[in-house]
């Protein structure tokens, strides 16, 4: 039985790459991570905020790898939305942070999908795990949606990692005007495999589109998390093994609850009861 693993990380950098968006580099011994996995980190030493905050892993820093800092570690990319991320944004080089992880089951390209057209679909901060996945894949079609021009830079990692990138903005200030799922409708065929992460409405639409054309789709979900390790049963989503086509108008009964933290965060899009989300 293992003793407590190393949860002590040290801030290498914490840069505001866009107003309100921070890239956090952490020196961390436990930095073995797969795309789509996440960490739970304590933002403060006190009890307000009380719980750890889940953040997806943006990249792995390997000593001797492309990004060399002489340290192993991870990169996180986060948006300041509340008190936890606010406190996090004030951390400076050398500060200690308590990090649990890597957690969950991430994105994988299954053998049976290897010959399919890979589509990486993301909205807003949903790009975090998919940029990491793109690096592992080295190719694919990335579709990215965001509010406006200001956030388009978030998706730059897709190109760097060898993907074709198409962008949609809600206000049309960059790329095409519309939603990422509008782009998806262009690109998707029954021979596509879609990996998606972003707002729940986007994921729901993605699952419906994929089901309609008969494509495979995997989605990374978000839920408020207390433990991150499958113990509190707090991050439940209604799910269940079924092989039928998703029918947004019908209600799927008798589905078990799955835990986003330990069963996911990546699920087969056809496996989620979207009506109950």
């Amino acid at each position: 039985m293992k003793k407590s693993p190393d949860t002590k990380a040290v801030v290498l950098y914490n840069k505001e790459i866009l107003p309100g968006y921070f890239l956090l580099g952490l020196k961390w011994k436990a930095a073995k991570a797969a795309p789509g996995q996440f960490v739970m980190l304590r933002t403060s030493g006190g009890f307000d905020p009380l719980l750890r905050r889940p953040l997806g892993i943006y990249s792995v820093i390997n000593a001797g790898g492309k990004k060399t800092f002489g340290d192993d570690g991870i990169e996180l990319l986060y948006k300041v939305v509340g008190k936890g991320t606010k406190i996090l944004s004030q951390k400076v080089k050398g500060d200690g942070i308590d990090v649990l992880g890597p957690l969950g089951n991430g994105f994988t390209l299954k053998a049976e999908h290897e010959n399919k057209k890979v589509i990486l679909l993301s909205g807003g901060m949903g790009m975090v795990p998919l940029v990491f996945f793109a690096k592992a894949l080295g190719s694919g079609t990335a579709l990215f949606g965001c509010r406006s021009k200001a956030e388009v830079q978030l998706a730059s990692g897709f190109k760097k990692n060898g993907c074709k990138l198409r962008v949609a903005t809600e206000d049309g200030s960059a790329g095409e005007k519309g939603l990422a799922t509008d782009l998806l409708k262009d690109e998707i065929t029954n021979d596509s495999v879609v990996y998606a992460c972003g707002p729940v409405a986007m994921l729901k639409a993605t699952a419906a589109i994929a089901a309609t054309v008969g494509a495979v789709c995997f989605v990374s979900l978000e839920r408020a998390m207390a433990c991150g390790i499958g113990a509190c049963l707090g991050c439940a989503v209604k799910s269940g093994k079924h092989s039928g086509v998703y029918d947004p108008s019908g209600v799927i009964e008798n589905r078990e609850y799955k835990m986003v933290c330990s069963d996911g965060p990546v699920f087969d899009g056809a496996d989620i009861d979207w009506e109950a989300f």
Partner: protein, 312 residues
């Protein structure tokens, strides 16, 4: 005085006996916050725990409530899990083999929608090797039937405890709800029914509203408040219960550190449970046990001397 002190140094200074069961230390993990133990195996040394109290067990597996099931509040959290669990039979078959391999005590937290269900769950666990005691949850606020009704009515509480005692030979710990006018009445009721120990507190019923959506954060509307926010209420109830209790007490509610645990021991609890803290730090319970040992050493006290040592 010197000789016994030397003898004590050789034995385990944290050992405690509750309801006839010997625990290696007075720090247990609270039900529902530590899964079935295995979830934490990678993050802490389970062998160093006084006991693992497992997630509440019902007769049949339960799916639990729709989400969202948790929301953070100031220095606390609300949960409305709805007692999702694998059911008592799957627990015995699938979860106990792992737990038997851990060098700690296992306490099975049990729950029923009817008195008969409580009795039946207790009965099935009674013959399961490795289960050291039963903890009766008469106080879960997040299910429609049972739960809180038993926990706030002394007559119903009496009936549940009596039925469990009749159904099982295992020692019984009854877990009380804080959502009552007078905890002393509940203490007496469950003692009269033959409980071997009392644990307290379960969560306070609370609610949080998303003001932008004008909806409760929890799908279940209300949930149970846990974490440091509730500690002053928990310590007070423990101290009040101690005034009348004849059986040992297991205190909990917002214990994050050894110092917090000491408040309960000093107020009169023989042992403590660590709940929400395990989410913040999976190693919390182990750290708390070692912090209590440090305190006893620093103050040259035994655990027995510490318990109930408050001077008011």
């Amino acid at each position: 005085m010197k000789k016994p002190a030397r003898v004590k140094l050789k034995s385990n200074p944290l050992e405690v006996v509750i309801a006839g069961v010997k625990f290696k230390n007075p720090v247990m993990t609270a039900s529902g916050t530590f899964g079935y133990g295995s979830e934490f195996a990678a993050y802490t040394d389970l062998n160093k725990l006084g006991a693992i109290v497992v997630k509440g067990l019902s007769l049949k597996p339960r799916a639990g409530n729709p989400g969202p099931r948790t929301v953070e509040t100031p220095c606390g959290m609300l949960n409305a899990i709805g007692l999702q669990n694998v059911g008592v039979d799957a627990f015995i078959k699938d979860k106990m083999p792992f737990l038997r391999g851990v060098d700690t005590r296992v306490i099975a937290n049990i729950f029923g929608e009817t008195i008969d269900e409580y009795a039946e769950v207790a009965h099935r666990l009674d013959n399961c090797p490795g289960v050291s005691a039963l903890e009766i949850n008469i106080s879960c606020p997040n299910v429609k039937k049972g739960g809180i009704v038993f926990g706030t009515d002394p007559l119903q509480a009496y009936a549940v405890v009596k039925a469990v005692k009749d159904a099982a030979r295992l020692p019984v710990i009854t877990k009380l709800s804080p959502n009552v006018t007078d905890i002393k009445v509940m203490v007496k009721a469950v003692e009269d029914a033959g409980t071997d120990a009392i644990s307290l507190i379960n969560t306070l019923t609370g609610m949080a509203i998303d003001v932008e959506k004008r909806r409760p954060y929890l799908k279940n509307v209300t949930g149970g408040l846990s974490g440091p926010a509730i500690r002053p209420v928990a310590v007070r109830l423990c101290w009040e219960a101690k005034k009348v209790a004849r059986v040992p007490l297991v205190g909990m509610g917002g214990i994050m550190t050894a110092s917090d645990a000491l408040e309960f021991l000093i107020a009169g609890a023989d042992a403590v449970q660590v709940g929400t803290a395990s989410f913040v730090d999976p190693d919390a319970a182990v750290k708390i046990a070692s912090g209590i040992a440090d305190y006893l050493k620093r103050h040259a006290m035994t655990l027995g001397e510490l318990v109930g040592s408050i001077r008011v």
